[in-house]
């Protein structure tokens, strides 16, 4: 035993190997080597014999069955303690998850205003004349319209919209309003084509515009009309911006009605506009900007002339626009409206501005024109923050997967279109309002996993938006400015609100 414990290191076989040999733990080459060493080394056999006797003595003094009983009892009683690492390894993922959760909650609680980067900054309201002719309408486009309803949760909530309209504060904050003229006989050039006004404007120039309008004691609608006259299809804020820069507008801007906005209401787009005087047709015509496409312009003027001879009640229902023979490919072949707009939009000058003011005054009074009652076009986009609706302004950025309520009025069909970062439009939803009452279209922006930015457009028209007939005419990236949406369809009048962008 002693020899074994101290080791006979001169022997070729160590004590450990000898112990393994006694325990029957060796096999193969190791076993053969030990057995060979035992046979060759005289003292090793004796040592081995002694080790075996000690082993027998040890097992006799501590019987295996007793040892086993104690061991099993101890193993049963003493459960293995939880190693610390089994607890601490949970700490990093839990910390990360908590941080993410806090971030999401914080972001949602603060709302869109907390997100500084507006993916799209542009004007929010444009309108086309009732007689605007679409550039192209694909065959069977209308047939595809019902499919749009599947893409969004469309809820008609006239009462809610009315209640919101009754609340001045909410209306001020939430409503992006334009007023459609009772009889818009402007040139229908670029019918169906909608464009944003100058998109690289921020709110600062808009404020300057409003200040300028107040100083001049003139309704901003005049400026809006001015902007329209200079080629901008803007109404409200967008029109004011267009007036200030003269760069905005669309290729074939019709003499759209100005947007009458109370001068004292701080956000131009927030307050529901009062009735605006209807400009005389001649004035509107004179205020219209130079046409970018003579073909479209002549067609529009024909329509205008035709419509001017009739009262709204006398006018026959507007026929659905015939699809272009070229179809969607023709749309694609058409020059980008944005480019046309940039190149041919005239500069604002004082003379035109004055004419536009007169036009705006005239257009704001439908009765003067003997026009019918066309409901004001208003659009508001709200997101639910903590159970309270929060208005979205153009250029706001909201997190993806945010549920938005788009309340719109003024047309029979309300369509919400999102434009992804890759420039592909996506119709979120569409609602029909046969009675002209406000409708609500609930849309949920794409989830964050899609990692795309989306600019949101709201199109108010008198016909359903044909599927696939909306296209981005400039800027394939929603974050790139300007971004313009061209809608080719049968609508006679459009109001496009470009607003929230999901990031």
């Amino acid at each position: 035993m002693a020899e074994m414990t101290t080791g006979l290191t001169t022997t070729p076989v160590s004590d450990v190997m000898l112990a393994r040999y006694v325990a029957g733990d060796l096999s193969g080459e190791q076993l053969a080597r030990v057995e060979r060493a035992i046979g060759e080394t005289p003292g090793l056999a004796e040592r081995l014999e002694r080790m075996r006797s000690e082993r027998a003595e040890f097992l006799a003094s501590a019987p295996p069955h007793q040892f086993a009983h104690k061991m099993v009892t101890r193993l049963t009683v003493e459960r293995p303690a939880q190693p610390k690492w089994q607890i601490w390894w949970l700490l990093p993922p839990v910390t990360v998850a908590t941080a993410l959760l806090v971030g999401v909650v914080y972001q949602r609680a603060l709302g869109p205003q907390s997100l500084s980067r507006p993916a799209v900054t542009t004007d929010e309201a444009y309108q086309l004349p009732e007689d605007a002719k679409p550039i192209a309408a694909a065959p069977g486009a209308d047939a595809a319209a019902p499919d749009l309803r599947r893409e969004a949760d469309v809820v008609e909530k006239p009462a809610e919209a009315k209640a919101e309209a009754r609340d001045p504060a909410t209306a001020k904050a939430n409503t992006l309003a334009t007023r459609a003229p009772p009889k818009n006989k402007g040139a229908g050039g670029g019918g169906g084509g909608l464009a944003n006004a100058d998109a690289d404007k921020t709110s600062a120039p808009r404020r300057e515009d409003r200040e300028h309008a107040r100083k001049k004691d003139a309704p901003l609608g005049e400026l809006a009309a001015d902007g329209i006259s200079q080629g901008a299809y803007g109404a409200g804020r967008g029109a004011g911006e267009g007036a200030a820069t003269g760069k905005s507008g669309y290729a074939q801007p019709p003499p759209a009605k100005p947007v009458p906005v109370q001068p004292e209401s701080p956000p131009v787009w927030a307050a529901p506009p009062p009735p605006a005087p209807q400009p005389a047709p001649s004035e509107r015509r004179s205020a219209s900007p130079p046409a970018a496409s003579s073909t479209v312009e002549s067609e529009s003027r024909d329509r205008e002339a035709n419509a001017a001879t009739k009262t709204p009640a006398q006018r026959a229902p507007e026929p659905r626009p015939e699809p272009s023979s070229a179809g969607p490919s023709a749309d694609a072949a058409s020059p980008p409206p944005a480019k046309v707009m940039k190149d041919e939009a005239p500069k604002a000058d004082e003379k035109g501005r004055a004419r536009a003011s007169e036009s705006a005054k005239a257009a704001s009074s439908p009765a003067d024109d003997g026009g019918d009652e066309v409901p004001a076009t208003s659009v508001s986009i709200n997101r639910d923050v903590g159970g309270r609706p929060r208005a979205l302004s153009s250029g706001d950025v909201v997190p993806s997967a945010t549920l938005l309520k788009v309340v719109a009025q003024g047309g029979r069909y309300i369509t919400v279109i999102g434009v992804r970062r890759d420039g592909v439009p996506h119709v979120y939803g569409q609602a029909e309002s046969p009675t002209g009452q406000p409708v609500t279209v609930q849309v949920r922006l794409r989830p964050a996993s899609s990692r795309v930015s989306e600019a949101l457009f709201v199109v108010v028209g008198d016909a359903p938006m044909p599927s696939g007939k909306a296209q981005v005419s400039s800027g394939k990236d929603a974050a790139q400015l300007p971004l313009r949406l061209t809608v080719a369809g049968a609508q006679r009048r459009y109001v496009v609100i470009m607003s929230a962008s999901a990031d």
């Binding site: 290191t9 001169t10 160590s14 450990v16 393994r20 325990a23 295996p64 069955h65 086993a68 193993l75």
Partner: protein
């Protein structure tokens, strides 16, 4: 669930070898028996790590070395220095008396100091490295013998001893001990390079 038959079988085969290992390191029969039980207890409790990849003996041997050295560390902490007088006063069987005799006659104080110092310097080392270090510097085995006994490659033994040396240098500064000690297990301290061949010892 472990059955008594399984425990009894394993104990019958390896119990004595483990007891001898513990006795050599701690020098006390009662403690050695206690450590033997602790070794088997840890073996069954952590048998998931064993997974049958090696012989149960090598796994038990590592555990036995670790628990024995750990006991020595705690002794040092408690100021309970092992001495031959303590061994002499320990009542026990003939086995203990035999151990006492061998300890007093063959085991010089330097060896004991080596084990004690090694126990202090190996704090924080893993079981395998500790076992290899003890086998090398206390048992005086060569790298080849260690590799054969533990079913490891010679290269692994070299790496582990190198790791042990690095750890020892670091701990020596903390523990403020002088290393290598003179004498001891063949006079081989951690500063010495692992011996390639067997040297006469004893």
């Amino acid at each position: 669930m472990i059955t008594e038959a399984q425990v009894a079988e394993l104990y019958t085969r390896y119990g004595h070898a483990i007891f001898v290992r513990c006795l050599k390191l701690v020098g006390n029969e009662d403690e050695a028996r206690d450590l033997t039980q602790e070794t088997f207890f840890q073996f069954f409790r952590s048998r998931g790590r064993f997974e049958g990849r090696s012989s149960p003996f090598t796994f038990l041997y590592r555990i036995a070395t670790n628990v024995s050295v750990d006991r020595l560390r705690r002794r040092k902490t408690a100021g309970d220095q092992l001495s031959t007088s303590v061994l002499a006063e320990t009542p026990g069987s003939s086995l203990a008396r035999e151990a006492e005799r061998k300890m007093s006659s063959e085991r010089d104080p330097a060896t004991f100091d080596t084990i004690q110092t090694l126990a202090r310097l190996t704090t924080g080392l893993d079981d395998e490295t500790l076992t290899i270090a003890v086998m090398s510097h206390v048992d005086g085995l060569t790298q080849d013998e260690i590799a054969e006994a533990l079913d490891l490659s010679r290269r692994t033994i070299g790496k582990k001893l190198k790791r042990f040396l690095e750890h020892t240098r670091e701990r020596a500064g903390i523990e403020k001990v002088e290393w290598p000690l003179s004498g001891g297990a063949g006079g081989a301290g951690p500063e010495d390079e692992p011996r390639e061949g067997r040297k006469a010892h004893g």
